[in-house]
């Protein structure tokens, strides 16, 4: 049992547990905080996958910004405990739960039955050796990521920038108390 394996199992349990509590907690604030936990776990998982930069970004963006918004909104709404946290309807409820169960089973099944190998790269290929070397060094691949991002996918990156601008304007417009989508009240 290597350090990596220990970390993985630990983080898996954290992430799954926190994820479950997101769904199951009847108090939305707890859900949100559980989600923060999940996010942190995911960030750690990223780190185990040598994606340190993404781990950092995950922390900044998700826990530092997105989830703060959620939590703030929830706290502002002051919803406390919900009486009916879950949708009503026995038949549809059954279908939903069964559907989710089946889906989980199917997904896991598909993954385990279709991708037998641990890596998609053929054994013995030069690439595989590279991977092994990289995995061993634990080197950060931030530079590779940045080159990919800013050279190859620059258009997508710029488009995202535009998207964010649009979103920012849209959000401001939506949350203005005057005008906007609803009458003043």
């Amino acid at each position: 049992m290597s350090m990596d394996a220990v970390l993985f199992w630990f983080l898996s349990i954290v992430v799954i547990g926190a994820g479950l509590s997101v769904v199951l907690m009847s108090n939305p604030i707890y859900s949100a905080l559980s989600l923060v936990m999940t996010m942190v776990g995911v960030a750690a998982l990223f780190a185990t996958l040598n994606a340190y930069f993404l781990a950092g970004v995950q922390l900044i963006v998700y826990t530092g910004a997105v989830m703060v918004l959620f939590v703030m909104v929830l706290m502002l709404f002051d919803l406390k405990r919900e009486l009916q946290a879950f949708s009503r309807g026995k038949i549809t409820g059954f279908f939903k739960i069964a559907g989710v169960g089946v889906l989980a089973g199917l997904l896991v099944g598909v993954i385990t039955f279709t991708t037998q190998k641990t890596s998609l790269i053929a054994e013995g290929s030069p690439l595989a050796a590279d991977i092994a070397a990289q995995a061993a060094s634990g080197a950060d691949n931030t530079k590779i990521l940045s080159e990919n991002l800013f050279l190859k996918n620059i258009l997508g990156f710029e488009l995202l920038g535009v998207l964010l601008l649009v979103i920012a304007i849209g959000v401001v417009a939506l949350s203005r108390s005057k005008g906007g989508t609803h009458a003043r009240d």
Binding site: S12, G19, V22, V73, S87, I111, N148, K152, G170
Partner: protein, 108 residues
């Protein structure tokens, strides 16, 4: 499949299964929860699950495309959350309601 090494040697499949489980948990949240904000959070959960897959693939394929994709997904998730919350806030301000069934009235 069930071998002893399954616990000690962590490979791509482990991450994928983890991602799948997280994804289905998120899906369950979307299907079952009534609070719109929680539904939105479940979506974030699903996106995170997918991100795990991406990063795992990225690592095991020695290809940074996956990470770039994660980057994009994060950005879009942030945008989506912002807009979603803005909408929810403006509706809440007007109707004092975040129940997802209430939003059926908006279908027009």
């Amino acid at each position: 499949m069930l071998e002893t090494s399954m616990f000690s040697e962590i490979g791509l499949n482990h991450y994928l299964v983890l991602s799948a489980l997280l994804f289905t948990i998120g899906m369950a949240g979307i299907l079952l929860r009534r609070n719109l904000i929680v539904v939105l959070m479940s979506i974030e959960l699903m996106l995170n699950a997918v991100n795990i897959s991406f990063v795992a693939f990225s690592k095991y394929n020695m290809n940074s495309e996956g990470q770039v994709m994660v980057f994009f997904v994060m950005t879009i998730a942030a945008a989506e959350a912002a807009v979603g919350l803005a909408i929810i806030v403006s509706i809440f301000k007007r109707f004092k309601e975040v129940n997802i069934r209430f939003f059926e009235h908006l279908k027009g």
